[in-house]
Amino acid sequence: MSKSINIALIGNPNTGKTSIFNALTGLSQKVGNYPGVTVEKKEGICKLDRINKGYIIDLPGTYSLNASSIDESIVINLLLNKKNKDYPDVAVLIADVENLKRNLLLFTQLKDLGIPTLLVINMSDLMSPKGISLNIPLLEEKFETKIALVSARNNEGLDELKKLIINYRRLPTKPLISLKSINKTYFNNLEKTFPDQQLYKLWLVITQDINYSNIERNNVSITSGLKTESPSSLKRIQQKETIKRYQHINNILKQGLKVDYKKAKDFRNRLDRVLIHNFWGYIIFFAILMIIFQSIFSWSTIPMDFIDGSFVYLSNILIEKLAPGVFTDLLTEGIIPGLGGIAIFIPQIAFLFLFLSILEETGYMSRVVFLMDRGLRRFGLSGKSVVPIISGTACAIPAILATRNIENWKERLITILVTPFMTCSARLPVYSILIALVIPVGSVLGFSFKGLALMLLYLSGFIMALLSSFLYSKILKMKFKSYFVVEMPNYKFPLIKNIGLTVWEKTKSFVTEAGKIILAISILLWILASFGPGREFNEAENIVKQTYPSLNQIELETKINSFKLENSYVGKMGKLIEPIISPLGYDWKIGIALISSFAAREVFVGTLATIYNVQNDKVETIKNKMASEIRKDGKPVFNFATGVSLMLFYAFALQCMSTVAVVKKETNTWKWPAIQFFSMTLIAYLISLLSYQILS
């Protein structure tokens, strides 16, 4: 019989909690969402010994049980609800050896909730270089717990931790801090009113919405009648409580912790002196950005060409091997080119996530936040907007979720509204193919025109983001006290395992999420392109033959196919919007791609591939097909003016349903996604119009 133990990993950010989680669970972990919110939920299974199996949940990092963000409120909601299936049998608090005092604040809170709590002191390998020595037996006695010294980096202490987890029933669960010593009258009254409830739990429920008001409390229905005190006096009690906890911790650490400061030679100081230098810091940051983008584009060309070629090859093989028919057509003309359209940018996404997670893991991202705060504040943003803005170059969705740790709502809202201007990876395939088609070969100062064009597109997205945040900050009338507290973590050498798992997880979820949409749209498009209403579509063959009696067989077939497409359902749709988009230089076929791109812009290439495939049966690479498209006047469809106007449209329009959905979820109203959608589309339309009219 195997027994299972529910384990919750909990701790401050930057304590190496995730490294311990990765070390315990490895590839058995899965990432989902907490019900109803888009907070990442990481779970995994760990074999503790022959009998016991641990179900581990890695809770979002938090500094205390007094929530001030959605991520933190998840932690409290779970810990307050014994009926939750994830409610832990044992909580494992991960503390960083260099910052025990602050980490222990959360520990004392957990203890007071009556949950068996183990204390893990992580990064124990740093103890001797930093001159730290601990009296473990004394700390165990005073904090009434068991302590495991772990170094996730060196894989040390994990077996000991597993043993302690198995024996969690022996952990004392008595509260550490007496709330009554903080405010006797208040807590005595509280106890009298609800004699069967645990005091600290009651207190947490009461004080939750002082700092954060969005918590649903359906599981603990005891709030009414409790608010006898005003919020400000509750806040005072809360501050007293925190001070009391720190006093308690300090008294114990005075005996149990010794630090020899002479030993602590500081690596941090030396790096900081350069990396946040008032001049060099900025130069280094921009140099790093340049290197990242340069390497993303040069390194991913080879795998991208390979993927593109493979899908063409696959289609050709299938056409040869399979019996001709509707199903074969759907597969080779709809599904495979559609999927190829997304598979092609897996390499770039993976590289982008790789660099982002390295910046995050090393602790450098916080320095960037520090460097950029003053400058970004001028535009109504916060230093913390840097993370969403940089992540926005991968994908706006995780980027918008990353705005959650911006304390000031106005700054956060503006960041959410402008992040989709950043050039996300879904725009890349559109840019790559259009640049290849319309930007001439050549170079200036050693930079190729094509490379420069791409850089300009990235830059224009960023500038538009800044401009519109400046506008929003002037228009939006909100008064918020701006809070800005950022922890500056120690510099760490990134753990390959952590980075590998992040890149794998993010790329996988991106591809499956986008893949689903693209698959659905490709099938839908193919159907709409292969069928049509009325006489023109159904009798296309006869009509074309009568109109052009002199053509040979091949020419005739091409004519018939394009006539069919023009009169199919999708052709009618494209024709319908042609008057609106022709001032921008687009024909009705681009119109079709544009319509389908409003679901997700990455379908642009796939859509064109599907349309042109339906039109002529020969399978070629997408680029060749686009290059050979010719307008009625004999000029190529994708000329310079049209290409530029199209790229600018994709640069500024909000063509992503998932972004709209996430913004709705994060702002809790349709108002902001609607404003964002219409303003971005309008800007895109006007700028494309202007550029086409000037260039053509």
Binding site: N99, R102, F370, L371, S482, F484
Partner: protein
């Protein structure tokens, strides 16, 4: 007594009192308490934000927040 933002780079002090109404609770939870030692490590371009060390915590806060924290300068002997 001076406010935290008036310290010079590299200067150490002890936190005396703070304007609790205007100070984010988060900062208190991170260990910014009366009696804690504080060091101003670095001022960003245009003196804002400030990079400080409170006990063992390294934090960045804005100048306006630092103005709410009153400190006693460490006397050099």
């Amino acid at each position: 007594m001076v406010t935290l933002d008036e310290l010079k780079t590299g200067e150490k002090a002890i936190i005396e009192v703070f304007e609790t109404k205007n100070l984010p609770f988060k900062l208190i939870e991170m260990g910014c308490l009366p009696g804690s030692s504080v060091e101003l490590i670095h001022k960003a371009f245009l003196n804002d934000p400030l990079y400080i060390k409170i006990d063992e915590s390294y934090l960045a806060i804005r100048r306006e927040t630092a103005k709410e924290i009153f400190v006693r300068r460490e006397i050099k002997i």
